[in-house]
């Protein structure tokens, strides 16, 4: 595994901030969840124009995918924070710790839409299932891979900044 220099540390910081922002923005703007897509009309919900999607709602007043999107916003913000901490504390120990945290965040990013909260179950063809979910899975996997790289990368002594 290649050693991490100052430039590479900066690149990884940038990647984390980018991935974090994408995790936050994807469910609301890039691949919007059902409620947002329905409101904006960015994706055709069917030919009938009926409002039967409301049956997918969770315990509150929103659909299930809404809560996943909210949780993902929190996870994305944490990934951005990891990037900022890495920028401020680029020594080996913090890199390894941040690497482990990022792997965990990546895994949670994948598990939120697939297992913990899930997406709408009425049809596999809803916008949250065909757009938001795969995009979040992809971003989660990329986050975890970057975390693994950060954890395994050789660096300088525990206290010396790179």
């Amino acid at each position: 595994m290649a050693a991490i220099g100052k430039t590479r540390n900066l690149i990884i910081t940038g990647i984390f901030i980018l991935l974090g922002l994408l995790i936050v923005l994807t469910p609301w703007y890039i691949f919007p969840i059902c409620e947002i897509a329905e409101k904006s009309g960015s994706m055709q919900m069917g030919t009938s124009g009926d409002n039967s999607m409301n049956m997918n709602m969770g315990s509150g007043t929103h659909m299930v995918c809404w809560y996943t999107a909210e949780a993902e916003a929190g996870i994305g913000a944490l990934v951005v924070l990891v990037g900022l901490v890495l920028f401020a504390l680029p020594n080996r120990d913090s890199r390894r710790s941040l690497g482990v945290i990022t792997i965990g965040l990546g895994v949670v990013t994948v598990l939120l839409p697939t297992y913990f909260i899930g997406m709408c179950t009425s049809s596999p063809d809803t916008p949250c299932n065909i757009g938001t979910k795969p995009a979040l899975i992809l971003l989660g996997v990329l986050t975890a891979i970057t975390g693994i790289y950060l954890f395994l990368a050789k660096g300088d002594s525990p206290t010396q900044p790179v």
Binding site: A2, F31, M43, Q44, M45, G46, T47, S48, D50, S52, M53, M55, N56, C120, T121, S122, S123, P124, D125, T126, N129, I130, G131, P134, A135, I137, L138
Partner: protein, 395 residues
């Protein structure tokens, strides 16, 4: 030799990383365009194969609706008089015919969207019956339905359409086409449902007697499909025929824009990358003049130096190609549903043979581009004289 090439690639991570990315982009563009075409085409073929029909005869005025039902599962209700059925049966080359009735549901209790009901006559059916036999199930009974793969409720649960309740007895494998959102029921049950709908449904279903929406045809000789299609159109007025090849051609036309853009971007990337990669390889050769000189002085032949430089570029291209194919494949699988929704085409993963062919073709093209770009620098490096090369740069 391989160890030398590997060390040389690892020694220049940024430059070679950028080259790998360029090759990955070329490979991803090429792979994606051919994957989409093969996926759509295999999807349609799989649907036609599942229907067991060589030809589908539909009302002339509803050709587009029929294609929408079969390709995209857009629910539709249309009929023609079933007097065409004996006429089609009498056309020379026709072995078996099966009339089907298409009924679009209102918003269904099972699903967030309306679905397509397909009514079949079990005595004439060759679509669902073979599937039932293969899955060791009894023939479709009263108020029993077989559902497409995307219908969410499980086998054994009930579904209600127009106030009539049906029980799911089987679920078909995914096809990526309209079949995935279709529900098969008996024609007799469809008429019962229509009669009851006057009392039980918000909007009654009007289903006249003696109608069909499509007639599925099996021909005696598959090679004669086109000729039989022409004969049906000639001899049975008011009909149009849909064949597997015609449907594949329809989706190919729909995909033409996207595949052209992808092919064009691969071409542009190749045209831009080719001289750039050649230039970078040439720069590397100039940088490594002394190294090459030492290798020559140690006994490396001109052919070995040629292979060294060419091999480096080919390996970088191969890594980029594999990376591009793998990443685009993962993205295409993840976003398969989204792509199908946006492009309005049926899409499933191409069969393994198609996938292997597309991957191999993409890799060969990418490696060929890499080899071509490094050809001139490799020749230049092979011609370097060891003494002059070692002394180069000295004052």
């Amino acid at each position: 030799m391989f160890g030398l090439i590997a060390r040389s690639i690892i020694h220049r991570p940024v430059r070679n990383g950028a080259l790998i990315l360029a090759f990955a982009f070329i490979a991803a563009s090429l792979f994606s365009s051919h994957y989409l075409l093969a996926g759509a085409s295999d999807s349609v073929k799989s649907e036609i194969a599942k229907l067991g029909a060589d030809i589908i005869v539909v009302p002339q005025d509803y050709t587009a609706d029929s294609e929408a039902v079969l390709l995209r599962g857009e629910p539709s209700t249309f009929f023609f008089n079933d007097s065409v059925v004996p006429l089609i049966r009498n056309v020379s080359g026709v072995q078996q015919v099966e009339p089907q009735i298409f009924i679009a549901t209102l918003s269904a209790s099972c699903c967030s969207l309306p679905v397509q009901l397909i009514a079949i006559d079990p005595t004439q059916d060759f679509t669902i019956t073979p599937w039932l036999e293969a899955n060791q199930q009894k023939p479709l009974g009263q108020d029993e339905v077989i559902v497409g793969n995307k219908i969410v409720p499980r086998v054994g649960s009930n579904l209600t359409f127009y106030g009539h309740t049906f029980r799911i007895v089987g679920k078909l494998d995914p096809t990526g086409t309209g079949l995935d959102t279709s529900i098969f029921l008996r024609t007799a049950d469809a008429y019962t449902m229509a009669e009851e709908s006057n009392k039980t449904a918000v909007k009654p279903l009007v289903l006249p007697k003696g109608v069909a929406s499509a007639v599925l045809v099996q021909v005696n000789d598959a090679a004669e499909t086109t000729n039989v299609s022409y004969r049906i159109v000639e001899q049975v007025p008011g009909t149009r025929v849909l064949t597997s090849s015609a449907l594949v051609s329809t989706v190919s036309d729909q995909l033409a824009g996207i595949t052209q853009i992808l092919d064009l971007s691969a071409l542009v990337a190749t045209l831009i990358s080719l001289p750039l990669i050649a230039l970078i390889s040439l720069m590397v050769v100039n940088e490594r003049r002394r190294e090459i000189g030492v290798l020559r002085a140690l006994g490396a032949t001109r052919a070995m130096i040629f292979r060294l430089i060419l091999g480096e570029s080919v390996i970088i291209a191969a890594i980029g190609g594999i990376l591009g194919i793998a990443s685009s494949w993962i993205i295409l699988i993840l976003f398969q549903g989204y792509i199908a929704e946006v492009t309005r085409i049926p899409l499933s993963m191409p069969v393994i043979s198609s996938l292997g062919y597309i991957s191999a073709l993409t890799l060969i093209v990418t490696v060929a581009v890499g080899g071509l770009a490094a050809l001139y620098p490799a020749v230049r490096s092979a011609l370097i004289e060891p003494y002059e090369a070692i002394r180069s740069g000295e004052l």
